[in-house]
Amino acid sequence: MTEPPSPVASESLPPSPTRLRLLWLGLATVALLAVVGVVWVVGRQDVTRSQPAATHSEADAHEADAHEVEATTGDKHAGDHQPASTEHGAGNAHGGAAEDSIAEEHGAVEEHAHAEVESSAHTGEEAAHGESGGHGSEAAPVSAQTKQVVLSGVAGINLLVVLAAAFVRRQNPPRLPKYLQPQKQGSKP
């Protein structure tokens, strides 16, 4: 890339103190709301999602939603499509899927997978092993607490970055591109 010889011939106009204060106030409010919102939402998820996980840990999948069980015992594809699961005896479904075309069998296999929900947690773990050898490992389900911590952390880091940038900008007002410069009164757009 070759930059043009003529640089931006714009002058920096430091923002007025009132605007800066408003900016800081706005940023702080938005940031606070964001963090509170994330924590609140994740906390709520904690209440609504902890039940299936507990069910899984007790290996009593009868009452749990089938998809949740699939998620907690390993990706269903492990049981459906990966040869490893056949070896572990969890995947009669896989045997069928391997012989027939995968896409056509997807629905049928899926139903079979639902039927297999009644199988033990041990079987599910083996299915997860099959997946881990297939296309990356399906990690253990992430607890709501972990989500809460990670999401709050990410929100916090982003917030810090934004606040740091605002602080640096206040200390050293940059040369703004023309389209971001305040228009002088009476000037044509």
Binding site: M1, T2, E3, P4, S6, P7, V8, L23, L27, V41, R49, H67, E68, E70, A71, T72, D75, K76, H77, H81, Q82, P83, A98, S101, I102, A103, E104, H106, G107, A108, E110, E131, S132, G133, G134, H135, G136, S137, E138, A139, K147, L151, V154, N158, V161, V162, A165, A166, V168, R169, N172, P174, R175, P177, K178, Y179, L180, Q181, Q183, P189
Partner: protein, 463 residues
């Protein structure tokens, strides 16, 4: 007050298929509208927010997650097709870019791009691409909604840092792994935005296209249309069309892959990225095949561990090294005939791999799009609160998908061989052409056959 845009004095034919597309009023009006591409940017940002929401807080099973379906079944397969049709246009409406612009507008420090990024950015992109693909397999990013969500949030943080401290869209130009791939794929794109040098010579606007004006932003990817001869870093955001006071910008249709025939200054790093992408497509294909389990078992026996991170890393390195070694060997061999060094040959003819890259990428993802496409609808229904429909997620039969995949690979191979031919012809004339071309044509044929072979085997699903 409406802005009057002058007509280019170099008016050619005004048909859609020939000449300057900006001669079409509706196209020019659309691109010059203040709403373009903002409306699309905000729309994609809205979808992005829904995706993130679903990935991190939605169902933990990829099968039931709308975010996973939208990202890996719909968007990822469509993205190379968009690059082929419209170059890097996706980058103009990418939610990451919108976030960067938004942050920049309010707290941006507009620092210049660090020199090392200008120099080594493409290598960082190469490394990021490899690292993300490796992480996907080892940590199961695609299969895990949470993992996918974390990847997107991690990238968002990078984008925010970039937008908060540096000029324009530094992230997109110098760091985004998708941007790197987009830059390569966009060279095959059928839309080309260029400036007319004769008009630019008389320009007195102080490079308004590069610097922007009071009403339009500068080129976000640091391109100077006057000197631009590649689509690699043009995202068709139309800022330059809006800011050019002389009507110098043209938008033309061209044959796919045409740009690859005349790369003036071939860069080793860009050629290397093309080969890396070939390796990544191989890895993606091989690990989704059912024979992969057998290969993995064999490898576990050899290395004496069942640790997947170890065995996959070895397989990954081998799969990545094969295309690099093949192109390196071919470049060395061709150098015997055309008298150029291995590095020069590698850089010059590495670009010829791009059509096959695109074809392989599209063909691989065609499977996910057509064999799992209904998952997007199923998960969307569930997202709205209804009972998720059950049944096959396939839109087409596996046989039909395979035929499409073979067709694409044949087209890609032909496109690559033709690109190698044109590169050879424009570089060496007719004298050394045959001797230079034959090794590369054989290599491309081999890679094409290998791709077809991979697509003949059954593949696993994503959702």
């Amino acid at each position: 007050m409406s802005v009057q845009y002058p007509q280019s004095p170099l008016d050619g034919p005004s048909g859609i298929l020939s000449g300057n597309l900006l001669k079409q009023r509706w196209i020019a009006a659309t691109l010059r509208s203040r709403l373009f591409p903002g409306v699309l940017q905000w729309a994609t940002l809205l979808v992005f927010v829904i995706i993130i929401w679903q990935l991190v807080l939605g169902p933990s099973s990829a099968h039931a997650n709308l975010g996973t379906a939208l990202t890996w079944v719909l968007w990822w397969p469509l993205i190379p097709i968009i690059f082929l049709a419209m170059g890097r246009f996706w980058c103009a409406i990418c939610p990451f870019a919108t976030i960067s612009d938004f942050v920049q507008q309010f707290v941006g420090n507009h620092r210049p791009v660090p020199e090392f990024l200008k120099k080594y950015g493409i290598w960082i992109i190469d490394a990021m691409f490899i690292l993300i693909t490796w992480s996907d397999h080892v940590f199961g990013i695609v299969e895990s909604p949470w993992g996918s969500g974390m990847l997107l949030l991690l990238l968002t943080t990078g984008v925010i840092v970039s937008g908060a401290f540096f000029q324009r869209r530094m992230w997109c130009r110098y760091l985004c792994f998708l941007g790197g791939m987009a830059g390569n794929y966009a060279r095959t794109g059928m839309l080309a935005l260029r400036a007319v040098p004769e008009i630019c010579k008389t320009c007195k606007s102080g490079a308004a296209c590069f610097n922007g004006t009071a009403t339009s932003a500068p080129c976000p990817l640091f391109e100077f249309p006057r000197q631009m001869d590649s689509n690699a870093n043009c995202n068709l955001c139309a800022n330059c069309i809006k800011s050019c006071p002389n009507g110098s910008i043209t938008l033309t249709l061209r044959a796919p892959t045409q740009e690859l025939w005349f790369v003036r200054v071939p860069k080793f790093s860009e050629a290397f990225l093309a080969v890396v992408i070939m390796g990544i497509v191989f890895v993606q294909n091989i690990t989704m095949l059912e024979v992969w389990q057998g290969m993995l078992g064999q490898l576990e026996t050899w290395v004496g561990t069942t640790n997947y991170a170890v065995t996959f890393t070895i397989s990954f390195l081998v799969a990545m090294a094969i295309p690099v070694a093949l192109l390196g060997g071919t470049a060395w061999f061709a150098g015997k005939f055309n008298g150029e060094s291995l590095a020069k040959n590698f850089a010059r003819f590495g670009y010829a791999l791009i059509p096959l890259d695109v074809a392989g990428h599209v063909a691989h993802n065609l499977f996910h799009l057509f064999a799992e496409g209904k998952a997007v609808w199923y998960t969307f229904v569930a997202f709205l609160g209804f009972v998720q429909p059950e049944g096959s997620a396939a839109l087409l039969s596996p046989q039909t998908i395979q035929v499409l995949q073979y067709g694409l690979i044949v087209l890609g191979t032909a496109g690559s061989i033709y690109a190698a031919y044109r590169i050879g012809r424009s570089t060496y004339g007719t004298q050394k052409l045959v001797h230079s071309l034959v090794p590369y044509a054989l290599l491309l044929l081999l890679l094409g056959v290998a791709n077809v072979g991979l697509f003949m085997l059954p593949m696993a699903h994503r959702v």
